[in-house]
Symmetry: C2
Subunit: 356 residues, 2 copies
């Protein structure tokens, strides 16, 4: 922000722009009507926060340069509560979509933002979320270039839902995805798991764990680009969101028609996360993350890939998790501390609703 913001006492940026409508500091149905109030809401909160020249065109979309093939992805965010230790729905909406682009082997470039706002939602909260999005976009080097706001009547949404879609430029030299994995591939996990899910759950239920758990929500494009730049043979990438590590591995094994074996003792779980999972009867392998991924790389590149990742803060705790092999297609086995294998499945039913 150049002049539309100032550093607040709590360390976050506070937009100084005026409240859109006098006398009422909450979202009104008129803010969704396509008329003056909607224009004012956009001009006073979204535009100054996102601060991209494309938004100043006030047109129906953005016009953008790109070279070569593009990656295109979308996600809606309905996390509850909206604010949690380590982030909020805005941070999540930017990082989640940035990460999906990175998982395609793309450099994230542009994001769109669609807000669905509930009548009565405090403008101050919207402003805080818009600022989180701006900060997250800057940290991830993406531009928020086009947006939309809709308003629904009181009781017909839950504060705010956000959709972000993203466009990136493919930089990986070969296609990345479940179909590209092959027997012998090493599976690397980028760091400890389970923090996002447990942080959101603790915030929602008001659990006061002895050691507070912060979400791992973060952009993971930089480590992916570093792997590609180093010439590592990257076959598949997957961020470990809803459904956790286990669901991601099962989906990859099923789609790629390969077998996977992982070493449970290699999976990093922080003590406070492990304790919270044990207390609540949850398996950390099924808990959501928002800044973690697995990379399937050529066996010969395994050590170099680890080295590249460990040089970056966000992936300094990367480990070799297991490998792809010629077992039954779609089967994911997990070898436990006593040497006994168990077969992993996708999350069945619902563990933690509305985690992202």
């Amino acid at each position: 922000m150049s002049d539309g913001s100032k550093k607040g006492r709590d360390g976050t940026f506070a937009l100084t722009c005026a409240v859109p409508d006098s006398g009422n500091d909450t979202i009104q149905l008129a803010h969704g009507g396509g008329g003056r109030a909607m224009a004012r809401l956009f001009d006073s909160i979204v535009r100054p926060a996102f601060d991209d020249p494309e938004l100043d065109r006030r047109h129906d979309g953005a016009v953008l340069p790109i070279e070569g093939a593009l990656a295109f992805t979308t996600d809606s965010y309905v996390v509850k509560p909206l604010f949690f230790p380590g982030g909020d729905i805005g941070t999540l909406a930017v990082n989640g979509t940035v990460n999906d682009l990175a998982m395609c082997g793309a450099k994230p470039l542009y994001l769109s933002v669609g807000f669905i706002l509930e009548e009565g939602f405090p403008l101050a909260s919207l402003r805080r979320i818009a600022c989180s999005m701006r900060d997250a976009a800057r940290a991830a080097h993406v531009r928020l270039v086009t947006g939309d706001t809709k308003v629904v009547d009181h009781g017909k949404a839950d504060g705010v839902f956000i959709n972000t879609s993203g466009v990136g430029q493919i930089v990986a030299p070969t296609p990345i995805g479940p179909n590209a994995i092959c027997s012998g591939d090493a599976i690397i996990l980028s760091g400890d798991i389970g923090r996002h899910g447990m942080a959101v759950m603790a915030a929602r239920e008001g659990f006061g764990f002895e050691t507070p758990i912060e979400s791992d929500c973060a952009p993971i494009a930089a480590p992916v680009l570093a792997l590609i730049e180093a010439g590592i043979g990257v076959h598949c990438l997957r961020d470990l969101t809803r459904g956790g590590l286990a669901s991601a591995l099962v989906e990859i094994a099923e789609t790629g028609r390969q077998a996977i074996t992982i070493d449970e003792t290699a999976v990093p779980v922080r003590p406070e996360v492990g304790a919270a999972c044990e207390l609540l009867g949850l398996d950390p392998l099924h808990v959501a993350n928002e800044g973690r991924f697995v990379a399937f790389v050529s066996r010969r590149d395994k050590d170099r890939a680890l080295e590249v990742l460990r040089r970056l803060d966000i992936t300094s705790g990367a480990v070799v998790l297991g490998e792809v092999h010629d077992g039954p297609p779609g089967q994911v086995s997990c070898r436990g501390p006593l040497g006994v294998d168990r077969v992993l499945d996708m999350l069945n039913g619902e563990q933690l609703p509305r985690i992202c």
Copy 2:
């Protein structure tokens, strides 16, 4: 559809795919959990309906070819009711975003789809909406290439909200937008106005007008591409959605810092729409449309532009509406049947909430 659908008795396609979960034909929270139920929902409804090879990759995003500059846009759809004469939320979600791309001077290519589903929402309705989206995408020659589903608890949404984002390839030779309008430009309106807004309102409130009003919801990329192909000097395009014709003209005049005068007697309004507006005290100039646009073109191209548009069914009723001139920047005047000018403003407050 190849094998996943058959033509139903009512003329629409009915997917034959099995119901995702036995014993309960509605959305469950587990459908949003990132695990087995979510995968099943996607595989049984979304994938067979959309039927795009990119969706089969089961990856976090789509990888797509594009040439030159791209247009990128987003919209969320919260229309109430979900089904209305002339369309439903699915038709709207495809056409609305296709139209936004066309308004950038782009050929629409790819759409993403994000569903926010309420627990308890009937799967049959979701299936019907997915089929509408497939049919609308085919009609508009765009591909639905990537998607996401989220589920929120009962009472925390209103059935289903849909976000679509779109990517298109810029084909206009010069930038199109409010900043490109200039004094002397002719303003062309593509056809009669007010049908979408009145159709949705009648469906919502249960009004039984003598002549039923059908939404004008339709893709308008073809006429835009025809104008560009014919070499017409197109300066600005705008579809007339929320806020209607008046809000669109005011926003363009304000952003482009020009004055506009239109001839009210030139505005086509069908008799049944005019009668319904009069009955309800609404100004047709503020009522939403979903298949109408204004084109600002060079004065010298006016007649040829009309000719190009009138050749196509969707724009056969195109008219010259007015012109841009050197009056007070941002002012939009409307000359009535008695020769008296009134100044138009954007819609103030809320006329018809949740119209799209």
